[in-house]
């Protein structure tokens, strides 16, 4: 497992370098798989469902992260964020008959704190923002999936001797303010250092203010890749995060539809292609698609 992680790090690094080599950051990444847009999608949905309404309107707003390389990341020059969350969102959007690369899709940034309020108020239709499924969240919003299972690891400076969270008891470990990762760090006995963004944490690790930062392994791999050779991901995963899709409780019918699209993508290989284009690479073993939760 650990070996795969290191290989994944190298692969992500290679991927980001090849992207950087494209020069113009505004260009879409070439490796992103093409998503087939379904025609006459509105006919497939029953009247009165949220999917029908969205398909007929031809417009949708998706909540994604902007600051997580590999999952949901948008640099200043590009219009559309990139990453695994975004690719999965594109599959859902295409199933509604909307072209995911057109202006009909609004990619709204949702930080950890405003994902529930945005869904509740209807400001976004779906949230795919490294959104861990939890019982508490399911009381206020709908969550289904998971479409990915990840775990929390530790990111340290490349020349550090630290090999895992066990060695960081009583030491400072950075993570994002108000995130589950920060709680897990504290539960592991380390001193939590809250920051606004993951890149701010990486900055603190780079300049030696804190010895380590911690969050989902996939995010850390992306950060390590961004900071070429100065940071490394270490240790076993010490938590399990089940990343799912968020929708409004007012339209529970979305759950079945999301699961259908996800299942279809697991079977058709679209999920695999999305993983390989964002988190994977030549040497990375693509994991088995996770088992989906039943809809209530």
């Amino acid at each position: 497992m650990r070996h795969t992680r290191i290989k994944a790090a190298i692969a992500v690094l290679g991927l980001s370098l090849s992207l950087a080599a494209c020069g113009d950051a505004g260009e879409d990444n070439e490796s992103a798989p093409d998503v087939e847009v379904k025609e006459n999608a509105a006919d497939d949905f029953e009247d009165g469902t949220a999917m029908k309404a969205l398909a007929e309107a031809g417009e949708i707003t998706i909540g994604v992260k902007y600051d997580q390389p590999g999952l949901g990341f948008k640099d200043a020059a590009s219009d559309v964020p990139e990453g695994f969350d975004v690719e999965i969102a594109k599959l859902l959007v295409a199933d509604l008959g909307i072209d995911p690369n057109s202006d009909s899709v609004t990619w709204e940034e949702t930080i950890s704190d405003n994902r529930e309020p945005y869904l509740e108020s209807g400001r976004v239709d779906l949230v795919l923002a490294s959104y861990s499924i939890t019982e508490e969240r399911r009381q206020v919003v709908g969550q289904t999936g998971p479409y990915m299972i990840t775990g929390q690891q530790v990111l340290v400076a490349a020349d550090s001797d630290i090999t895992g969270i066990e060695e960081l008891e009583g030491e400072e470990v950075c993570s994002v303010t108000g995130s589950t990762s920060l709680e897990n760090v504290e539960a592991a006995g380390a001193i939590g250092v809250p920051a606004e963004t993951y890149s701010q944490c990486a900055e603190d690790v780079l300049n030696g203010t804190v010895p380590a930062m911690s969050t989902d392994g996939t995010i850390l791999l992306g950060l390590a890749a961004q900071n070429d050779g100065e940071l490394k991901v270490v240790g076993e995963e010490f938590s399990e995060e089940r990343i799912g899709v968020g929708y409004s409780l007012e339209s529970p019918e979305m759950c079945e539809w999301i699961n259908e699209v996800l299942t279809e993508s697991f079977e058709s290989g679209a999920w695999e292609a999305a993983f390989e284009a964002t988190l994977g690479g030549d040497d990375v073993e693509t994991p088995e698609p996770p088992a989906l939760d039943e809809c209530a």
């Binding site: 309020p117 508490e136 303010t177 709680e183 001193i191 250092v193 920051a195 701010q200 203010t209």
Partner: protein, 227 residues
């Protein structure tokens, strides 16, 4: 509200950090602020200029920028506080905490200086002149004649400055100290259904803390009233 009660230890620790940030930067800003005020009203032109420059630069800069300077730009330029590492029970005063205290102190000092200067200006010039006439040096004039009267007049604005500081400590929550604001964000993340009651609970605790502070200022004002 039960969420706050269930996590009372974590919440208490968080407010402990809030109060420590406030108390340490509060005392330090009073010291530095008084020194700055002395520079600004003193007889040496160069020092007057230095004091004025400090107030102009720092008071015209947003707090967040001052704090980010010490937290993020500082370490890059070699301004680190790694020598600070004090652990008292669950409370840990580390380099990040120190950087935040320094930022808050630097920022608040400018306001303390101006509050105090307002007080000094309220003391009739004759007082200082009389003190000079009996042969007191500048330090003596300030210490024994001007400041005791100035502090009385400066007390209400000073209380406002310190109350602002107490609330300003929340900025440190986004920059590396798990104080009340950071803890609240953690709790709202875990307990999405309780979001609003959590906001209210934390706001109420702040109201109580500020109320205690203003009560204290009120008491002092009454006690020092007889001039």
């Amino acid at each position: 509200m039960h969420v706050v009660w269930d996590n009372r230890e974590a919440v208490a620790l968080a407010f402990g950090y809030t109060l420590l940030l406030f108390l340490i930067s509060g005392v330090l800003s009073m010291v530095l602020g008084t020194f700055l005020a002395a520079l600004r009203v003193g007889p040496v032109a160069v020092l007057r200029l230095a004091g004025t420059a400090y107030v102009t630069v720092v008071r015209n800069t947003p707090l967040l920028i001052v704090l980010i300077f010490f937290r993020i730009a500082g370490p890059k330029m070699g301004i680190k506080f790694n020598f600070v590492d004090i652990t008292i029970g669950d409370v840990r005063l580390n380099n990040v905490f120190t950087a935040c205290v320094v930022g808050l102190t630097v920022y608040t000092s400018a306001f303390v200086c101006e509050a105090l200067r307002a007080g000094i200006n309220a003391v009739p010039l004759g007082q200082a002149e009389a003190a000079r006439a009996i042969g007191l040096p500048f330090g003596g004039v300030m210490r024994t004649v001007v400041l005791p009267q100035a502090i009385r007049a400066a007390l209400p604005p000073m209380a406002s400055v310190q109350i602002a500081l107490l609330k300003n400590t929340t900025v440190a929550g986004a920059l590396g100290v798990v104080e009340a604001f950071a803890r609240m964000r953690g709790l709202t993340n875990d307990n999405a259904p309780e979001r609003i009651s959590l906001f209210i609970a934390f706001a109420l605790i702040f109201v109580v803390l500020v109320e205690i502070l203003s009560l204290f200022a009120n008491r002092l004002e009454r006690r020092w009233r007889i001039a």
